[in-house]
């Protein structure tokens, strides 16, 4: 690597910050992909958040394909973040768009699902409701406690992931999870050939491997792109809110609200709080529902 290369990269990085601030013009700018950019000579003036005007080549405004986070890198998490989810049970009518999007993006086979929509009933007199469940990314994760080989881990940003390159398939974590959030590839998972050759990252949970455990990963690959997990963006009813607890804000795509106010005003709770696992997924109780409860055929598990 030559000195000029280094230099131009540094320059670019400086500019990168500027571009990002500027406007909706830039949707998926990736700082890592510098090498592939060929300058066009055409410059635009942009303003950085600090108020400086920077002039940069328009080539840098092009969206760039995503990169893969290696198993080692994926153990650290995104600095300064504490991801959190809030699920509004009053809005869920079991459309299962979340489930389908999750299945599709994680290439879950016919017998695997990271996200379930369960029919719940608090007591026989109460009306049932639909409850999407997934990995709760607990702050006291009983699954991580029991892993003998450090294959599943809790990151600084709150996300619990699995490195299926490390997993020995003892399934102790599945037994330890009181929410039955984890799934196992009992046989060789079937998926398209190009996917099988894709570079594995714990952040995408793809491609899955026979004899290992997998589960909802909170889509950190999407988060790195500045986008929310697939279940959140797929839901047409705004059931899922996702965000950063450190920022005290969650968004369901349509609106961004303060997490503390949302949980305070709408009596947010966590599923089976008495387990002491401190989940990072909160629920808003199914009161003042948007839809009447309707049981339907979608409830069956696909397996």
């Amino acid at each position: 690597m030559t000195a000029t290369d280094q230099n131009s990269r540094r320059n670019f990085l400086k500019k990168g910050l500027g571009i990002a601030a500027v406007s909706s013009a830039v949707t998926a700018l990736h700082a890592f992909q510098v090498d592939s950019v060929e300058e066009t000579g055409e410059k635009v003036k942009l303003l950085s958040p600090e108020g400086e005007i920077v002039e940069i080549d328009i080539a840098y405004l092009k969206p760039i394909p995503e990169v893969n986070i290696s198993p080692d890198e994926s153990r650290h998490g995104i600095p300064g973040r504490r991801f959190v989810m809030v699920i509004d049970l009053a809005q869920c009518k079991n459309l299962r768009k979340c489930h389908d999007a999750c299945d599709k993006m994680h290439h879950c086979g016919p017998e695997k699902e990271f996200l379930k929509v369960l029919k719940m009933q608090n007591n026989t007199l109460a009306t049932p409701f639909w409850q999407p469940t997934m990995c709760f990314h607990c702050d006291e994760p009983p699954c991580v406690k029991v892993c003998p080989v450090d294959a599943t881990f809790k990151r600084e940003d709150g996300i619990v992931l699995i490195d299926t390159d490390r997993c020995i398939g003892c399934r102790f974590c599945m037994v330890a999870c009181p929410y039955s959030a984890r799934t196992f590839d009992w046989s060789e998972p079937a998926f398209p050939l190009e996917l099988a050759h894709q570079h594995y990252s714990p952040e995408t949970s793809v491609p899955a491997k026979m004899g290992t455990v997998s589960k909802c990963d909170f889509c950190p690959d999407m988060v790195r792109k500045g986008e929310m997990p697939h279940c959140v963006t797929a839901c047409p009813n705004g059931v899922f809110y996702f965000g950063d607890e450190n920022e005290d804000a969650v968004s369901n795509g349509a609106e961004t609200v303060r997490l503390s106010e949302l949980l305070r005003d709408r009596s947010g709770y966590r599923y089976m709080e008495d387990m002491g696992t401190r989940p990072r997924v909160y629920y808003l109780p199914p009161v003042n529902r948007a839809f009447p409860f309707q049981d339907d055929e979608f409830t069956k598990h696909k397996g």
Binding site: K145, R166, G169, C170, S180, W186, G211, G303
Partner: protein, 450 residues
């Protein structure tokens, strides 16, 4: 040491010859060959299906995401349980100075060694990625009960092997010197393993001391191995496992099935080899019978604690699990196991006539089979009752019914363990020869515990 330790040889020749003729390991007769052949077929069938499982994954079993542990884990717990017999007989009985233990020690160590080896193998059988077994060492997380289990199983195996081997050294030397008509390799093996034992007083002293130390050392390790195994369940939040006295519950059950295992082996050896009723006498059966009643009563006590107390409360998920055991899907198995595997042995063995060899053999089979299914009842029903509702799952996911291949692999491991015991008894005396000779001396003093 209170008394002098005489050099074991020479003795009255006829007595030595009679004992060594009776106790020297013998080539298989017809029944022995059939026994080995049957066990080998079961073992190899299991191995065949295991190779299939290794290639195509655990999908060949009936385990799925909810019933994620099945009969492999139940079988693992069973093997760990029965291996505790080694420490029971060689350590606890030795240290308590029980006179009748001499012919029982070798048998129990053989059972202990073979079952602990298979416990380790069975846990590999249950792994989704057995090819990554070494991760358990190179990426070991000290916080995981599995890591503790790996540590304590390897420790227990090592100590059990030593406890099997050390008392065997004088016998090996005895066979090296006196066993005629055996193939040269067998002689060489005895010579090699006997470590040049020549009853040197220094050797005797070292050996007795080493045995004494091991007998003490194995007790905490034995409690550890089964307590840690119980923690694989008790450290989770699952109904039926979330219990504080799982450790002692498991340990007491393990001693009980261990005693049952020794009784069964005693009976088979006694009836199979001629004259062995002189060494494994009715007195020995009487003694083991009383011991088994005691151990069964202790286990009964823990069972009452384990089932009655939560049943009195009938709390949430626990209630669902208990109902399935008491009058639901698992009720026939549960009550059969509790009655035939625990209550009936207590009743029968209370009577003097029940403590005769044949009734005891039958009872010990009940105890062993009951113990295996008891482990099934500990492992499986809990996972069939997760906290989240299961009604949307397909039927085959809600109920775990092991596949034929799964049963076959499990049967293969049980046959394999029996095969190891059989082969050990084929080449090493199942009853210590030198010690028996020594004890046959009229002036032998049993109170030699320092």
């Amino acid at each position: 040491m209170k008394t002098k330790k005489p050099v074991p040889l020479p003795y009255p020749t006829d007595q030595i010859e009679a004992i060594s003729r009776d106790l020297m390991p013998k080539p298989f007769g017809l029944s022995g060959k059939i026994w080995v052949a049957v066990l080998s077929v079961i073992f190899l069938t299991g191995l065949y299906f295991y190779i299939e499982q290794f290639r195509f994954g655990l999908g060949i079993t009936a385990m799925r995401d909810y019933s994620t542990w099945g009969i492999y884990i139940a079988n693992f717990v069973f093997f760990v349980a029965i291996s505790l017999v080694g420490s029971l007989v060689s350590a606890i009985l030795k240290l308590s100075g029980a006179r009748l233990r001499t012919p029982l020690t070798r048998i129990s160590e053989m059972i202990a060694v073979s079952s602990i080896i298979f416990a380790a193998l069975v846990i590999i059988v249950d792994m989704g990625r057995p090819d990554r077994f070494l991760n358990v060492i190179f990426h070991a997380r000290i916080q995981s009960p599995i890591t503790w289990d790996v540590i304590v199983i390897s420790t227990y195996l090592t100590i059990s092997l030593l406890l099997f081997y050390l008392p065997l050294i004088p016998d090996l030397a005895f066979m090296r010197d006196r066993y005629v008509g055996i193939p040269a390799w067998q002689k060489k093996m005895y010579t090699f393993l006997a470590l040049g034992w020549n009853s040197h007083p220094g050797q005797e002293k070292i050996l007795r001391r080493a045995e004494q130390i091991l007998a003490i050392l194995i007790i905490p390790v034995a409690f550890g191995i089964h307590t840690v195994t119980s923690w694989l369940f008790a450290t989770t939040l699952r109904p039926g496992w979330d219990s504080n006295d799982f450790g002692p519950y498991f340990v007491s059950g393990a001693f009980m099935v261990g005693a049952g295992g020794v009784i069964a082996a005693m009976y088979i050896f006694r009836t199979h080899y001629s004259n062995w009723d002189k060494y494994l006498t009715d007195k020995h059966f009487e003694f083991m019978g009383r011991l088994l009643v005691l151990l069964s009563l202790v286990y009964l006590y823990f069972n009452i604690n384990e089932y009655f107390v939560p049943a009195y409360k009938m709390k949430g998920g626990e209630a669902e699990h208990l109902r399935a055991l008491f009058h639901g899907r698992y009720a026939p198995l549960f009550w059969s196991v509790q009655f035939f595997g625990m209550v009936l042995p207590i009743i029968v063995l209370m009577f003097r006539r029940g403590r005769k060899p044949l009734p005891m053999f039958i009872i010990s089979i009940f105890v062993i089979v009951g113990a295996w299914f008891k482990r099934f009842l500990i492992v499986v029903p809990t996972l069939s009752h997760p906290y989240i509702p299961m009604d949307r799952l397909p039927e085959s996911w809600q109920h775990y019914i092991p596949t034929f291949k799964e049963w076959s692999i499990t049967a293969g491991t049980l046959a394999g363990a029996l095969l190891i015991v059989t082969l050990l008894a084929r080449f090493f005396p199942a009853i210590p020869i030198v010690e028996t000779i020594e004890e046959a001396k009229p002036d032998h003093n049993f109170e030699e515990i320092s």
